[in-house]
Symmetry: D3
Subunit: 333 residues, 6 copies
């Protein structure tokens, strides 16, 4: 294996090699990977954004191949140009590096979780000015990533903007830090305060009443999809970002792809009828990208083995690129 700057990371499993299309620069030609020789060091100052894959889905309550998502997302980059037509924004204004994937263990899930936390600490230590954009994996990883951030920045108050069908507030007692628990994990561990969580997109019959009671007790803010649509999802997201910006140092955006309606997100194992449309989601993450306090994001619970005509994987790439569009707007603002 090649020399690689991070002990806990593997480089991306493949590198794009295609001749550049001068007429149409594509996302896979623009995002860089590292090719570090023995004894060389990386000049991180170039990079605005660091992409990190987290191929873990053994910690998912139901069977999931979300572990295959980081590579599925990378393979789909070639279908996208770097130019956002609707916003007239060219993403090449940003320098983005793909760090590869956090190393995982087959049978030791706690070790997987430790590696994820340590990877975030390492990123915050080695190149704190790059924004981490994490491609999961299942939702359990969010707890580890935010704990890593907190470990690196113990004095920061961290808020969460969560776009999700679920609260993710299940108790850790029965089944440990699974993908049903990350927000509760963060609250109970004192990493974040309940009042600093804003969940937008809850709908249907996919949360127990007890979780809603718990959410109320710890002060989690939430807006169901039906409510959100009365004002417009974009407006509700904007309000949440403003409220969070006033009280926290860092907003962490977490996008559970199961927030999407099953017709547009068939590859999210828990997606259901009655969920969010892609245009609503793309606008929401664009707004988050444009908000100065948003300093990290993740995208989780996308199982490419279940996808239909790559619709969900393409939606995942679009989410990532919409967020980066917001980031360019933030820089230009």
């Amino acid at each position: 294996m090649r020399n690689y700057p991070y002990p806990l990371l593997n480089p991306p499993s493949f590198r794009w090699n295609a001749p550049k299309d001068v007429q149409e620069p594509k996302v896979h030609e623009w995002i860089q990977t590292l090719d570090v020789k023995e004894g060389e060091t990386v000049d991180w100052s170039h990079f605005d954004v660091a992409i990190l894959g987290v191929p873990l889905s053994r910690s998912s309550i139901s069977a999931s191949a979300a572990s295959e998502n980081p590579d599925a997302i990378r393979r789909a980059w070639k279908y996208f140009t770097t130019y956002n037509m609707e916003e007239d924004v060219d993403l090449t204004a940003l320098k983005v590096v793909d760090l590869g994937d956090v190393r995982q263990h087959v049978t030791d899930i706690p070790a997987c979780h430790r590696h994820i936390q340590e990877a975030m600490v390492a990123m915050r230590t080695h190149h704190p000015h790059t924004l981490p954009l994490v491609i999961g994996g299942d939702h359990s990883i969010t707890a580890m990533l935010v704990k890593g951030w907190k470990e690196a920045h113990p004095d920061e108050r961290i808020g969460i903007l969560q776009l999700d069908t679920h609260f993710d507030l299940r108790s850790l007692e029965d089944n440990g830090p699974s993908n049903g628990t990350p927000i509760r994990n963060l609250i109970e561990s004192g990493t974040i305060r309940g009042e600093d969580v804003y969940n937008i997109g809850l709908h249907g019959f996919f949360n127990a009443k007890s979780l809603k009671v718990y959410a109320d007790e710890v002060g989690v803010h939430y807006v169901t999809l039906k409510e959100a649509r009365k004002k417009g999802v974009a407006q509700v997201v904007q309000d949440a970002l403003q409220q969070l910006s006033q009280k926290v140092d860092t907003i962490y955006l977490t996008v559970d792809m199961d927030v999407l309606d099953i017709s547009v997100g068939p590859g999210a194992p828990a997606a259901t009828p009655g969920g969010m449309r892609t245009d609503e989601l793309f606008e929401a993450v664009l707004l988050a990208g444009a908000c100065p306090k948003v300093k990290a994001m993740d995208l989780v619970c996308l199982d490419p083995y279940r996808d239909v005509e790559q619709a969900t994987v393409k939606a995942g790439v679009h989410v990532m690129l919409s967020f980066l569009t917001g980031l360019v707007k933030r820089k230009n603002a």
Copy 2:
């Protein structure tokens, strides 16, 4: 086979046996099945709602495995909690029993139809206070179910709220009581009056002009999807419920899943582009559930063999649970 209180019914083909999830009560743990020993009798007074499967789709004009739908719906219950997040309604306020399926014959469709009618008569006789919630099967069953209701309650004036892509007003002359004919069957048999039918959701190129002429002649009310969206589907449904409530004793809600757009209802054999969205349908049946005059419902024409990632079956469960959410609201009102 176990002793079973109804001569024409089979018990559900399987019973859920899973350990209850205390944190997250699921629909399949909440809906009860009967386990009646020889000589025992059932105390029906417990039950607010009785679910009845009607696994008949031989009477469908085009090939359909809608006969597999009752079991597909039952198997999908486990993906849903009993708590409606958007309405803050807990369905456990209702007692619901799954009666199983009406017995069908392989080659004698008239016998199948008789059994269905008799099952409705039996339900209305043995436990008239329970609301029948019927899972088809193809749309031909609606004629039999409403005739059964009329047989049990000959003095009642019955209205129909129909959510459908089609009129279902074809003549019975050519092909008998198929799934293209139930509303005409009910009108021509004198079971209902044309003016007491409200059809919402007609669209596209899926009805002959002659059927529209017939609908006008017999006074059927209808609002196409395009028209309905001008006011909002919910408002149009509300208006229909109010008009029906003023003139009939009982409103029977029939939901043909082919009213859904093909992208959200791929498992409805006749679903087409340009149909209803799931959020529109869920809201419509919730309003019907909340309306005191609505005393029975059915859900038909869902073929789980054609489904994609279970999207349509899950939509079917959601329709059923949205209706029950309305019922809780009705009780609480």
Copy 3:
């Protein structure tokens, strides 16, 4: 092979033969095919519309079986009646003939393109009063069809209403007249002026910035989907039709099915999340059909091998029938 009036055409590969359904006349019973005996001539004066299949997709940049689309569309006609419920329009007011398919060559793409152009010239020569409705094939065919129109009507100023995710303004230098180039091909060949192109539906990250710069240079009009939805897609289409009607003699409507969201157009190889809804597209083409200056249309880039439950093929038929609905309205206006 039977005698056929056009040297460059094959008759449709099959003819419908089903007994007519008197109750429900279907589209495949209404559209006529020719059965010309040796020495007979066709009386073209009967026909308002001529359907032409163009089974060419070798000229597509990415692999596509859009060549199979004309027959897929024909086979799906039987799922549609001739009656538009929402508009109360009966299409049998029009006489429509299916001319069959332009003959294609397996390895000589320039010959294929010549045949397509010549077929349009022949149609304009032999029966200039019939409106050509062309079923592709990939988008490269649009350049040939419009050139054919121009060859037949050299003095006409032709405008283009394009519903598309892409500009289709790539340079022809690298890869010839592929499906990424038709609009540039028409502009650079002097067939049309840039200012007479109106593109509605561009969205996401699917066009290079350089193409937008080129579009601006040559004066192409475009409205992204996000912008269009602010006014309503229908209004934006209406505005474009009005502006075009004031300056051109003929408006040619070209519908690239990849303008649709991938959830409703999975069979369009380049469809993506964030695209147009079918109700928006159907309304857009209906408006175009009703506009007196619109004298031809094509529908391209639909690959039935990739379709899911025939959703995209059915959407394609619906587009064609919505356009014809507009044509009836135009006649009746």
Copy 4:
């Protein structure tokens, strides 16, 4: 609808119209359809074989779209030439006419069954020298077809060569003449004798022991697949044909496509692992085709909606053509 010589038949729903490929004559160009004008009569003396579609699968125990099979088979003809490479036999030595489909009723299965029987009687009456090749439909049709033969030829002793996973000896008492009953139906009605049935291909766990007991009682001959492979399936088929030829006047070949292994017959709803290979089946029917006493065949229980990459439909066409190859060999012998 066109004038058609048979009162109970519809013409094939479509006719092939493609230009003939001189280099490669295809099956769909070779099989003829009738185009009879008012007052004309058909000269049946031309035809060696008459293809008859029987689109009935409502009588199937489990949900089946085998009703769609006749048209699926017809559409797949174009993938096949008329030349059997392995036997050096050109099928154009035979004249084959596609008569179309027996008319079916949507809700009256007994009427469907009567029509099927009457269609066979009509064929035997109008053109007794043509060999009927019937494309089902489910297996219930075999009983009707053989009864029709018997009605037309009351003095003939009829034997059955059945290639099937099942006995099809279920009692008619419970569910009438379904697809589980045809052989019992024929035996109990006195149409055939048990000893004149030869079933080859039974395997696995798909028959009740009681049916085996019944088979033994009535003298049905059967060879399981495991046994048959010891001698070779071809040899066992040859033996059965010889034994039957010595005692009956007519051998009727019935091929239930579920005899195939599920990997090669995924579109046969009851296909299972452990079934026959296609090369075994093709050889078996070729031998039957070559046997002078075989005077009719059917092919049943193929549901094209469940097929994978058309493998089963193509296998169905291959079965039909292998049989016809045998027929040419018989003529040439």
Copy 5:
């Protein structure tokens, strides 16, 4: 949750309830489940065979939903009768109980593995005369099950008959007791001797050379598929059983479904072209079932989410029933 005799087991998630088909007894009507009331005890002496589900696949190297297999197998029982046609064996000669599933933990894989081992110990303690038939899950469970057997019977010498594409001899050092390691785990832990392992079915390019070297070092016996076919797979299996019977007390049969060719086992994530046919596998396990020393079996690595038309799940049921057929033969011998 109901009272259940085993602390580490959940009852089967559902119980079949269908009316018994007197003509055709089916597997799901024959296999019993327990319904134990508080204070009651189970009379285990009735049961010849106990089925145990092990829904664990988090320990799989590649993403797998083999955890869903026990329920998938149970649901498919209804497609099978209890009568083996080819062997003339009726399985109802055996009493079989479905114990349900070993409880699993979401994030603690070592705990899952402990539960599995303890479940085997409990079975050997409470009802040592019943033969355990285990439905996995991934192949890591075999190590735990055999260790449990050894813990209950410390003096027994245990042999393994393994039908597999892989050695499963990977080192545990890197990734713990994953599904690539069970045989090495058993050898290195001293549970079995290398020389007591007989692996039949290895083929292609799916094992590292180093594993072959290790196998030779520890004396594992193996026959590749190509070699096995020279003598016949059945003969090679018979030879292995005889050799094992002479030296061990107990033979444990483990069937990794990826031994099957991908065309007949598409639902085995590691199935490949060039694997075993189903008829070879069914015969192999039948022979094992008939061998007196074979006292337990498992069936692993079947992911029903990847299956095509249920071919692999049905093959899994067939494997289980073929083994039981052998068991009846053993009893009758």
Copy 6:
């Protein structure tokens, strides 16, 4: 784009980058790619085999995405180790380089064909000792590749071993050098003699009789699958290799994946029931690999978009690796 030694080639579109698995070396870790810096030259003496992708399928008669096959094959390498278990052969004895893909043009098929021929000439010129292993693409490329060989080695007599369902002897007159014509193209151009073509695998109804007549006229040798199985496919291949070795200088092996049965090769667009098994094909190419006169091979007509669970792509990799296994045996012999 990087500097690349061949003017007509693109490097592989991606390079594998994964950490090497020390326990299990995989094919993608073993096959090398070039990373040539400006001014550097490649030392070709290292390489025994050069892999060349030819992503052309526009020249296919029926719609095909075989152009996507080279990359699909590359992505699937990771599922295979370098060790052939059945032959005890380790492929790492060979040095293999992946040269990347021949550059293609979107609309100029003759230019594509020229590039392919020139690429072969370049390979024969720059490193004549490396064996070309070509991954197509459709079968039209074989004519160009063999012509390139002939151009580089004008004095050599070249023979063809063709494993195919078809003759590929169609006339070039109608449709040019399509995938139905390569062998005729080579014969008519004088590149090879008819008598030096050995075609094994022809079966069913997939060749016109006229092609058989032509084959006989020009002396093509062929053995149908049925005939071949009488001796064994391996023996027939061995005989062909021996005969060819006695008369030609170079044997070119061409494998059309449609020779496979559709159940094992669903991704070959023209695969049909009744074709070759994978074990037969793998053995055949292994024998060819071991034959000293075989100096090049190609693998064509595999469309990964149509594949089912990657069965055909995996079979394609297996074909390639089986051939290389033969090559190692040849070296060791």
